[in-house]
Amino acid sequence: MSKLAAGWRIQRRVISALMIRELVTRFGRENIGFLWMMAEPLLFAVLVGIMWRSLHGPEEHGVSVVAFIASGYIPLTLFRQSMIRATRVFSVNASLLYHRQIKILDFIFVRFLIEAIGAMMAFTFIAIVLMAMDEFPTPADIGSLLAGWFLYCLFTFSLCLVLAPLSEMSDVLEKLLPVTTYVMIPFSGTFTMLSWLAPQVQPFMLYSPFVSAMELIRQGIFGESVHAMWDITVPISASAILTVIGLTLCRRVRRELVVE
């Protein structure tokens, strides 16, 4: 038991040291410093939100266009950034493996955590600003909102666990990644509710783990104004499978990792 407690202490030390190191190397200590981590999702949400509003008007399907787009685009940037940050994460950080208490899984986790915290900060920030402008409803159901975020994060993280080792094994992956993350946008639930789509495509879209998570987020925000459809077994089982594959691959890559 004391061994477990000691392990936990070391783990916490390592994670916080790696977080600080990552924040300092990426954002520096100048001007707003680590707050930059929410700048990118925020900019995306604001600019795409404005674009959609000018194209589609203030309201569509009974909900505010800006609120709808902002609430969808921030998780999407979390997913895209996490994928980018997970590629080659082992070779980039290899010199840290000189310290045995640092494990390769810590690299993936820390990078994902920074993206997730940044995205959630941006989400909260933009929600408060839009609420003050009367463009964003008071969240109808915080529970569903958090559950949706949790599932979105869970699935994204499990994808990182697979992508990180794969990107070390093959260079092709890194080159295919941008187009893949772009092509999957229609299956991410970012721009539509499932109920707005034709009935015959709805069951297929539910197979995308992102869709259920996104529907839950929207249900949490808009409540009765939207009709959310979700099936949490999809994101949970997809994440479980990816995690098992990812951990196996990580173990394999670690054995062959060359550290300068």
Binding site: R9, I10, R13, V14, S16, A17, I20, R21, V24, T25, S95, L96, L97, Y98, H99, R100, Q101, I102, R254, R255, E256, L257, V258, V259, E260
Partner: protein, 215 residues
């Protein structure tokens, strides 16, 4: 005690692979000082990395029953883009030490002065060795792994390293890879020659040096 059991390591090379060593066995008892001898590319650094857990063996096992330092070399274990001070902070955090103590010791031992405020990637290899040495001496290990690094630096720095390692920490175990016969003869109890994929232990250091000179 540290024991290496049937260690094999190979690296992929083109379509095949390069076998660095095969079924190597080695035991390091507490307080024992072992010199690693071998020609360039024989696998001294690789062995030190495996003992330190930086890289994993292709097969076999490394058992560590005492605390082992990270391999001290010219730069491994550093963040090039971070300053010397930031690296010291990082080490303090992951080893659960007080940063103030580490900083004072590093300033005093490394004599790097204001250079500590510069990113490590701007350091010369001698300066990196000074920082690496200073940082690793702030944490007390039962066994230190040293890769060639003692022989760099000026006379004053060498003297300081010898004092800190061989006098002050004379009771610790040590694994030193070096091409310097004098150093191995003076400070090591045993020596291992790594040659053509296998390692052989000599309890007589002079005998090892003699064999090594004929390789």
């Amino acid at each position: 005690m540290i024991s290496c059991e049937n260690l094999s390591k190979r690296y992929p090379m083109g379509s095949g692979h390069k076998q660095v060593f095969k079924n190597l066995n080695l035991r390091i008892n507490p307080g024992e000082r072992i010199g690693l001898l071998g020609r360039n590319g024989a696998g001294k650094t690789t062995l030190i990395k495996l003992i330190g857990g930086v890289e994993m063996p292709t097969s076999g096992k490394v058992r560590r029953e005492m605390s082992v330092s990270w391999p001290l070399g010219f730069g491994g274990g550093f963040q090039g883009s971070l300053t010397g001070y930031d690296n010291a902070r990082f080490i303090a955090r992951i080893y659960g030490m007080e940063y103030d103590e580490i900083r004072d010791f590093v300033e005093d031992f490394s004599q790097l002065g204001t250079q500590l405020k510069m990113p490590v990637k701007t350091y010369s290899s001698g300066m990196k060795a000074r920082l690496a040495f200073a940082l690793s001496l702030t944490i007390e290990f039962a066994c230190y792994l040293i890769d060639e690094v003692i022989v760099v630096g000026d006379a004053d720095f060498q003297r300081k390293c010898h004092f800190e390692l061989f006098d002050k920490r004379g009771d610790r175990a040590l694994v030193v890879a070096s091409h310097s016969p004098d150093l191995i003869r003076e400070f090591c109890d045993r020596a291992v020659i790594i040659h053509e994929g296998s390692g052989r232990m000599y309890s007589d250091v002079n005998e090892a040096l003699e064999v090594y000179s004929t390789l």
